[in-house]
Amino acid sequence: MNDLVNAAPGRRPPLLEVIAERRDTDPCDVACEAMPAHVAGDLTSRDETWLHEHTRVCTYCANELRRYDKLDALLSTIGGTCDQAWSPPPLALPRRAHVWYTRVDSPIGELILAATAEGLREVDFAKESSDEAFVARMRQVGADVSHAARSDDAEPAVRQHLERAARELEEYFGGRRSRFDIPLDWGPMPPFQRAVLEATAAVPFGHVDTYAGIARRIGKPKATRAVGNALGRNPIPVIVPCHRVIRSDATLGGYTGGLGIKQHLLRHEGVTIS
């Protein structure tokens, strides 16, 4: 009977067809398998028809069906008690950062800008990063992510930060701005990296410093390589001008968005690097 219940329509074994004709037996093995399936809602309408035909000729199964239907009614009453409008208890969960992002075009390619209510959190070279990769990376640092154009719930401060970041970048690329004033949100960043980025943010437009120079400035003169690593993970490139940090031998060093972009930004600021 289990096979009957499970069988796909059309591949039905012949047994079920004889159930309807099967005579009174006590106990009847039809009941054992078919009744629970009946109450669980597992029978097809054809199975249900056959089962009911069978109960007309089998007293044992007729009684069983009556019992199971009464049981079903009891179970429904018990289940109905949970359908009251009991709402889930309030949850005490740690607060998550919520990041909204948008995409803008720029002379160095499309950029993803992301902000929280605190300030600008990320500038991403969109070429390197799909929406999905960006969202996944934000989640790894414990932030929820929404597209600013898709959600109406972005706080006004977030929209202001995104608009301001786009405006300041446009002015920068248009040659009308040499420093950025937008508030930044450093997020959950290790103190060393933050010190490196803050020192880097102090390097003015049109000037360069070296990895060793930044290391000295933050009081860790031996940490040249660590400075390079910290800058390689700069979440707010262009605005935190890690492109202004080069090697002591006056070569470019590295750049996460690609050395072409670093070269372009420095040339834009009037700096020539061989």
């Binding site: 208890p89 390619g109 499309e110 597209h147 995104l162």
Partner: protein, 190 residues
Amino acid sequence: MKAAAAFEPVTAGSMASAAVLEPVAYPTFDDALARHGAEIYRYALHLTRNRPDADDLYQETALKAYRAWDRLPCDANHRAWLYRIATNTFLSDKRKTSRLRSLDASITAESIPATSQDNDGRLDAGTLLREVEAFIVDLPPKQRAAFVQRKYLDMNYQEIAAALGSSEAAARRSVHEALRKLRDRFGDRI
């Protein structure tokens, strides 16, 4: 590097047009919980049959989900995932969920007075309902979970199997076995 494209600033009115690609909406943890939380809580009520335990189970499920959220792929089935976590939490917490804390605190006891009579006026229907409820709570936890999902949350066997981490056939067997036990226990009283 490609030629410099026209730079379009984002302004108050043009935020929407600044998106070059139609963005995909990625639900946040709060979105997922707002959407499925009530259903998961109802599942917890059916499993535990009393509100303090259901509250605990729900809280613990939400906290586990919260902690695991960042490792979940963007396109995951949140409903199935939450059912799985709730079921695992329930199954691993046998001490608290294997018995009703007290019969008087059960959901049926809260909702249906024990003095109500059935149509014949002979049987205390409220008492019978409480006994059936207590019997369900005494079923083996996996059987209880499968039974509750099928009977009360209208899930199909594929979903139940996913929540239990078992096969569909095993899920179906559990549901049928629970019903057979209920009939054997209460068949002569109904």
